[in-house]
Symmetry: C2
Subunit: 201 residues, 2 copies
């Protein structure tokens, strides 16, 4: 649930006059039917009453894991990108190191494990820089992006199903790849542009 | 399919030595079974052989529409955000004006219709600034973000199912909302931070 401070006071005041409360869910769920499940997602179809009061359906894709993105940054402002062929897209994708974090497990620990698996690096300084909803018209997927600094190299521990290419490059070049649309993954674009702004790059 | 220019020459040369071709899909589809469909998505489960040569399954959520985000910008550097309660998240969300563009219909026309529906504005100058994949581990959803300038106000034409709040604010303030995590939608974060960079804001 959103916290009240997410709503500017002027907005709340303006809309309270109209009897409108942004923390109130104007959708009604009439019934909910599971339609598919695998180890990563659950799909359900809800019968709903929409905010206008009319009946309809809503198909919701629920994720069993959080999406965790990590932007490693060394003392010389280099970062690492991971390239892989994405099955869902049928297309190659350059991304920040990324993986799924099991719900209920410590988010930071999952991010640390993922960075180690994909790049071999451990980091002494971690900053959670972003909460992001990837595709909120249909999914409930939530991602967190971490900035990982003060790096120490080590051995990589790739997952069995992955075939990854890991590339070290200046953060400025990774940002250029975002601007040139060489990077299309939403968490990578959002995370890299936010780090660029935080670091004044 | 990605175009070859997306791969830097050094990367291609380096990996050709290892017999690695980034345009080649290393996943094999053994069979494909539809499991759910509604007017907006199709879900299928594929039996696959993963890049390591081992069998498994892949559940893919295909979207029937493109995701279109529009960042209107007036001569005084104001923009417009749209607030709505997102059913999938059970949470309020501030976003750039956004909507679905039917496949096979002109993307720019769909974006123009969406801006008009949600804000009433038409724009004389449109720039496509981003191709984005929202959640590529499971979905094939593709989005495009447009910058819409030289605006003319008009009447709004909201869709029947939507209950939207439209807010005019300086683009600089919308960027601040991104940095403060008041905006969590991936297309909105990515689009606003890219426009900030393009405009030197």
């Amino acid at each position: 649930m959103p916290k009240s401070y997410e709503f500017p006071l002027t907005f709340v005041a303006m809309n309270e006059e109209k009897g409108f409360d942004p923390t109130h869910n104007p959708w009604k769920t009439v019934s909910s039917q599971p339609v598919y499940e695998n180890p990563w997602i659950r799909v359900r179809e809800d019968k709903i009453i929409n905010p206008s009061g009319n009946p309809g359906i809503y198909g919701v894709v629920s994720f069993k894991n959080l999406a965790l993105g990590i932007i490693p940054l060394d003392a010389d402002n280099n970062t690492w990108l991971v390239g892989q062929y994405r099955y869902s897209l049928n297309e190659w994708s350059w991304e920040i190191p990324m993986g799924g974090g099991p719900m209920g497990r410590d988010v930071l620990e999952s991010a640390q494990r993922e960075l180690k698996e994909e790049t071999g690096y451990t980091a002494a300084r971690w900053t959670n820089i972003m909460r992001i909803h990837t595709s909120n018209s249909v999914t409930d997927e939530v991602g967190y992006v971490f900035l990982a600094e003060e790096l120490t190299p080590g051995d990589v521990e790739p997952e069995e199903t992955e075939q990854l290419v890991v590339k070290k490059l200046p953060l400025a070049e990774a940002i250029a790849w975002v601007m040139e649309e060489r990077i299309t993954d939403s968490i990578s674009i959002a995370g890299l542009l936010k780090v660029a702004r935080l670091k004044g790059l």
